[in-house]
Amino acid sequence: METSRNDFVIAIRSAFLKKQNQQRFSLLGLITFSLLILTLGGFNFKPINYLELLIKEIAYRSSFIVSIPEKFIKENYHTAQDHINLYNINEKNELELKDLRAKDLLNNFIVLENERLKWIVEDYLFESDKIYAKVLSDKNSPFLKSIIINKGSKHGINLGAVVKDKEYLIGKIVEVNYTTSRILLLSDINSKIPVLIEPQGLLSILSGTGDKDGVIQYSKVENIIEDKSIVYTSGAGGLFKAGIPVGKVIKNSTANLNGKVDFFSDFSQLKFIEVLFFEKKASK
């Protein structure tokens, strides 16, 4: 019994304490060191955090290099899988396309019906060709919110033309030069445009604040505009076509019961814009 216990102790000692060839530390020493790191790491000990940061720097870069062959295999595996599934994907896409085509026909019908009805009430506006322009400078003074573009009367720009950033309204042309024009942004305090607030269907006027947002003015009943309502152009006055998205109502302001309007477009990030104007088609 005693001999077997002695054998066990000798084996354990040999395994954990004896240093192997060219080994600097014994197994027990390293296990103790690991436990120490683990415990100190659990208490957010600063030198351990620095050690972790250092290892991270090395490990992440090395991991990127080491994973290149696996990435290559992975990509090829996915390419092969895509090729195998090509037939099924194509079949699925064709079905989806069929469905979308049917929906598109329905959509076309609604658009044409809308056009015909507007024609009857003589409210149909035609969009001119778009003129794309580059923003030369933006005057972000507290008194004037406007931008200068590199297109003018030479390029067919007229006073009062509508300016859009992709699908969103940003302002109108207030000054036309030969090769440049000035746009008054919706955020300017002088900007007033007729709008429609959905889903309430309220007609009102949107005014700039001189800051980054706008306010709803002249609505008969205040505090009925819901939070996150969408503001579109109403088309009243014939300058803007109805239904151009402008912004979203945010109701966290205590100053105005109707809340403020957060514009969809970020006026400080404008690089290229679209200039266009709408005209009423003469009735047949």
């Binding site: 084996a11 683990l38 790491g41 351990i48 972790e52 490990a59 090395s62 696996e70 595996y77």
Partner: protein
Amino acid sequence: MKLKNKELKKKLLQQLPLILLFISVLNNFDFNYLELKYFSFNFSYILIFYFSLKRSYSLGYTYIFIAGLFNDVVNGSPIGMSSLMYLFLCGVAAYLRVITLRTSLFKDWMTFIGAILVLNSLSFIIVNLFFGFEISFINQIVNIFFTSLLYLLFSSFINLFMSNLDVR
């Protein structure tokens, strides 16, 4: 020149286990791109146990300790955790090596299964109780199952490969 090349090749082959260990640690070599839900294994455990048991001169404890630290950083587990597990595994392998006179794959395999069961339980307790991390039981069991199963395959393969090269 030919002699130099041969020496270089020999040196490279001697370092192969270490290179493999670091690759498996940095890359999480587990075929995860196959996107199999119930398949994962710990190649590092297989590698460390095999080389500590059969060719203890190939992998130094210090390197294993460093590899553990790298593994913790890559996996986001508490630092020192994998080192501790790897070194315990080395300890089990070293003990088995000391007490064994006639080696058998079955005995090695049984010891390996016992060791990884204990190690995974230990790591689960440390990570869950002391660090408050959540670990999926199913994933842990799947990992243990495939690691123990693949030990047979990998150990036979490495055995064959190394004996053919006769690296020492």
